[in-house]
């Protein structure tokens, strides 16, 4: 069955979300992934938005993480501090992030390219990204895969990955046991090596070569002992994604890279 890279990324992200867990999502692909997970293997996945929406029944894709869709028939229309404090308390399992640059430890830049005081490019800044990546148990990243994004050294660490390697998060003061979990791109799925906390390729998408991945990554990747081929979307996943999650093709109609 035909599918595009965005559909595959959403399906892979959805499968990484365990049933009975909690996830803070943004708009776009992460939200689609969480909705797909709810409609497939994880009916008890609870979705939160950082602006205060808790457990909505999403009628359509939100445009903003604070718009009225994010608390449509929700179990609670709360506040930003309430949601951030649930994260800090340890109640939130997953968060989803993007970014302009990411390094081999999963550190993310969404602030500036170039000098901070007179940047070449100014991006929005952390928003809630730093908070969620600091406080939620597992950070998921969905991002296009190219060498301008996957860089040896990010211009600015907006959001903590594993910083400089194993133990660095805890030494810096972040809650233990947290950190990047899966990086899902249009080429592959990566996790992190337990010993070094460096990014490690776990599966490569169908039709993508190991060389494609290397070529599009600006740092040296680690490779799992057995690099799998990413499981393509099932017919059922695609049907739900296309008919129920994103019938207007807001997300799945986009270019993934």
């Amino acid at each position: 069955m035909d599918y595009n890279a965005m559909e595959l990324m959403i399906c892979l992200a959805a499968r990484a979300l365990e049933d009975g867990s909690t996830v803070v999502v943004g708009t776009g692909a992460p939200c689609a992934a969480a909705m797909l997970a709810q409609k497939t293997h994880a009916p008890n996945l609870m979705i939160l938005f950082e602006a205060g929406g808790v457990g909505p029944i999403l009628p359509t894709m939100p445009i903003s993480v604070g718009d009225s869709r994010t608390f449509h028939k929700a179990i609670m229309a709360s506040s930003m501090p309430d949601v951030m404090e649930a994260c800090q308390r340890g109640m939130i399992d997953y968060c989803f992030l993007g970014g302009a640059q990411i390094d081999k430890y999963g550190n993310i830049n969404s602030t500036v390219i170039g000098d901070f005081h007179k940047p070449k490019v100014r991006f929005p800044g952390s928003g809630g990204a730093n908070d969620l990546a600091s406080l939620c148990w597992r950070t998921m990243v969905i991002t296009p895969h190219d060498p301008r994004r996957f860089v040896e050294k990010v211009d600015f660490i907006t959001t903590p990955g594993y910083l400089t390697g194993k133990g660095a998060r805890e030494a810096a003061g972040l809650p233990p046991g947290t950190g990047p979990y899966k990086i899902i791109t249009n080429l592959c799925v990566m996790g992190f090596d337990d010993e070094t906390k460096r990014m490690m390729v776990e599966s490569i998408h169908p039709g993508v070569s190991q060389e494609d991945v290397v070529k599009n990554t600006g740092f040296e990747l680690l490779w799992a002992k057995k690099v799998a081929t990413s499981e393509p979307p099932t017919e059922e996943e695609l049907r739900i994604l296309r008919e129920e999650v994103d019938p207007m093709r807001y997300i799945i109609g986009r270019q993934a890279a």
């Binding site: 930003m80 952390s126 809650p175």
Partner: protein
């Protein structure tokens, strides 16, 4: 200073950013001591509210969430009155930041999220402020600003938190690192943020300023309490009986509030939950025109400087007919399409 920190005795100055506002709770207490507690009629026009309560140089906090429940009318009036050198708390400031950047009224900003309009794209006018170094910047995060407001609302000079460690966000902030006196663990100390003025749009308020918000309150409960002056715009002014009939629902008590302005569709072109959805077409137009000063100027002239009030702006944007369409979108009356 890492060793003393380990021993529970240190303060580490990790932040090199500028602290724009004094976190001293005693200075704030002196101000609040003199703030009126009387139940007086505070209803006035947006023009009067901005003229009386927004001074050049003031530090401003905006309620809502960027394109959701924002006080657009007041932002336009700030431009129209040519306010200068305002500071801004960029706590997911999206369209609100875009307006103030376009108008050139701000010269410093605490950033959590600015220049972007979330999934809609980035504002070039807003980016130019940074890329041309025309604005002083201090970096934070959404939770950091939320908790800075909360510290101020609570009347304490800082709030401990567990975020920002190890990042450049912390390095370009004005946070400090302390050790927990009980556990010895490192904590980020976030300085209280007492804005000079908060501007918040709500669903309903009485003439004294007792206000209700339907749906998420984002940080507005804390913002209203933390700010020295508060301007409310409200979809509807209701009688005191509505407030007293359901006091559980009061989000902001009158004694925080200085001005109450009735502005129907006041969050337009943003979303007002349970009222009307955002006008994505108009927001797209904003993003398109602000990519270039030459297209931005006539746009601002047409919609803001050339209008006498928000009502005229609404008329230019399609008036009641367009608002009715946005109401139908909000209530999903035409199916699931959101734009």
């Amino acid at each position: 200073m890492a060793e003393t920190l380990e021993a529970g005795l240190g303060v580490e100055d990790i932040g090199t950013g500028k602290l724009f506002m004094d976190p001293d709770p005693d200075k704030a207490r002196e101000f609040f001591r003199g703030k009126s507690r009387a139940l007086t009629d505070k209803v006035m026009s947006v023009k009067e509210a901005v003229s009386r309560f927004v001074q050049d140089g003031d530090y401003v906090a905006i309620g809502g969430f960027g394109t959701n429940r924002i006080p657009t009318a007041v932002l336009h009036e700030i431009l129209r009155q040519g306010k200068k050198n305002l500071g801004l708390s960029g706590h997911t400031a999206t369209h609100d930041f875009q307006i103030m950047a376009a108008g050139g009224v701000i010269n410093r900003v605490d950033v959590a999220y600015v220049v972007g309009l979330e999934a809609r794209g980035l504002s070039k006018a807003a980016r130019r402020l940074f890329e041309e170094a025309r604005i002083e910047v201090c970096e934070w995060t959404n939770a950091a600003l939320a908790w800075r407001y909360k510290a101020a609302a609570m009347g304490i000079p800082f709030m401990p938190a567990r975020i920002m460690f190890g990042t450049d966000t912390a390095r370009y902030s004005a946070a400090k690192v302390i050790a927990c006196p009980f556990t010895g663990k490192k904590l980020l100390a976030l300085p209280a943020l007492y804005p000079d003025v908060a501007i918040i749009h709500v669903h309903r308020a009485d003439k004294y300023g007792n206000a209700q918000i339907d749906g998420i309150s984002v940080s507005d409960l804390d913002v209203a309490r933390a700010a020295k002056k508060v301007i409310l715009t409200t979809e509807r002014i209701v009688s005191e009986d509505v407030i007293r009939g359901d006091p559980t629902r009061t989000a902001i008590p009158y004694f925080c509030v200085d001005a109450v302005c009735e502005v129907r569709y006041g969050s337009y072109p943003g979303n007002m939950p349970y009222e009307y959805f955002s006008d994505e077409d108009h927001l797209k137009e904003w993003l398109a025109v602000d990519s270039n000063p030459e297209t931005l100027e006539p746009f601002l002239e047409k919609y803001i400087y050339g209008t006498k009030d928000f009502q005229e702006y609404l008329e230019l944007c399609g008036g009641e007919h367009r608002m009715e369409e946005l109401r139908r979108l909000e209530f999903l009356e035409d199916g699931l399409g959101a734009s």
